[in-house]
Symmetry: C2
Subunit: 251 residues, 2 copies
């Protein structure tokens, strides 16, 4: 019988700039009497990674450009917030209804370039980590140094979707895991060759983790235990659809 | 410590038209020595629901219209398949690169109107259930009659996404569960009032379940155990973004 466990880790304490997420995480595991296993996948909310990496900005530390002021007015948002969003963006995909959807410098298409006002304190915003794959690799390597075990690591964020209500958590950084599981070419139980079976398993794990992490519960890490991962290095960039094959990029 | 379990149920046997999914599911639980709990959420792959409901068509049973033939040629697909996709659709959203994205009669925007060639046998296709919420309610009610326990039920399918590679499983039918968790108005640990925190938890549960279900593993049901659901009735239609608030409907 296939069985997964999703275990939330709380009480990591306040994460300050320069903190080692790996250290805090291992200490939280110890307090919870959990030993990490080789096949574990650690899903880490990007917010604490951004804090540790100093990717936190004071809103009043930026000078809004004319373009930011204009967009802010149109969208009913803070001009400084708009300025930060624009700096984090490669291009604007769409605006309307108080929402701005952009392509970030990483290539992610999401609202507000992932710039987030919650859980950082009044007057501050959290940016996405500059290179979330690198952040994931660093956490993985440091955990290995501390414990001898190198679990896979996913950095997660909550993304909205076209056509569907609500956000789901997805992977913005990955290490120690291929984020897509490609079953094309395998046959089903009737001998039919699967043609479209590529599952975004890292996104599914991030979503599974969100069910224990929530938004207000102080659970910034979850362990996904029991999935047979192939121990290959991967990148969250594999989850970004190349523009040439994307039916929803040309506007 | 928050902890979820995702338990895959296999060996339901071949599902034929008229079969009771609830019966097969309860028998599989018995064989696996699992007692259902009140807060369990059962994620059921739509494919077996479609089989039980007779939502299976022979490709050669339909006569392709001129429009279907033309689109099939353009997309390199079978004209009969296109005819079935068109019949299942309210309108075409986009075509290209061998892909057709439509809005189904239910309001879901997805590839091929959810019409699927895998795991149904050669020459056949599976349609989505006609009313997946009703299917979920029926399974839930029958399980309650059999066991005295009324777990929540999600009917799932694998949907592709704009901008991101791979599919993730989402909820197309729901019963016994509010599919979105609205935390707007709650405050974070700094007193910031959350403005955009609506999580599509039914989609996240469907995705979590896919991790044990896979595409070729013969695991059509998974139990999500340990989530504190509010015992209210819900509908997968709550997951469909109203056209007026959707930035990606106007083409």
């Amino acid at each position: 019988m296939k069985r997964l466990e999703i275990i939330g880790l709380s009480d990591l304490g306040e994460v300050v700039k320069g903190a080692s997420i790996a250290n805090l995480l291992c200490q939280a595991c110890e307090r919870a009497q959990i030993s990490l296993l080789k096949n574990d996948v650690l899903v880490v909310a990007h917010k604490i990674v951004s804090k540790a990496e100093g990717q936190i900005l004071r809103l009043d530390s930026v000078q809004p450009s004319d373009r930011a002021v204009e967009l802010a007015q149109k969208l009913g948002k803070d001009p400084s917030l708009l300025e930060i969003i624009l700096r984090e963006s490669r291009r604007i995909i769409r605006t309307g209804g108080g929402t701005i959807i952009v392509e970030t410098h990483h290539g992610f298409i999401c609202a507000n370039a992932g710039v987030d006002l919650s859980n950082v304190g009044p007057g501050y915003v959290a940016l996405l980590p500059r290179d979330p794959d690198r952040s994931a690799r660093k956490i993985r390597r440091e955990i290995e140094q501390l414990t001898g075990i190198a679990p896979a690591v996913i950095i997660s964020d909550s993304f909205g979707r076209p056509w569907r209500m609500g956000t789901v958590d997805v992977a913005v950084g990955v290490s120690g895991l291929k984020p897509v599981k490609d079953e094309r070419g395998k046959t089903d139980r009737y001998g039919y060759e699967l043609k479209a079976s590529v599952s975004a398993i890292a996104d599914e794990m991030a979503s599974a983790a969100e069910l224990v992490m929530g938004k207000t519960d102080g659970v910034p890490v979850a362990i996904v235990r029991g999935y047979e991962i192939e121990n290959e290095e991967g990148s969250a960039r594999e989850l970004v659809r190349p523009e040439a094959t994307d039916l929803f990029r040309q506007f």
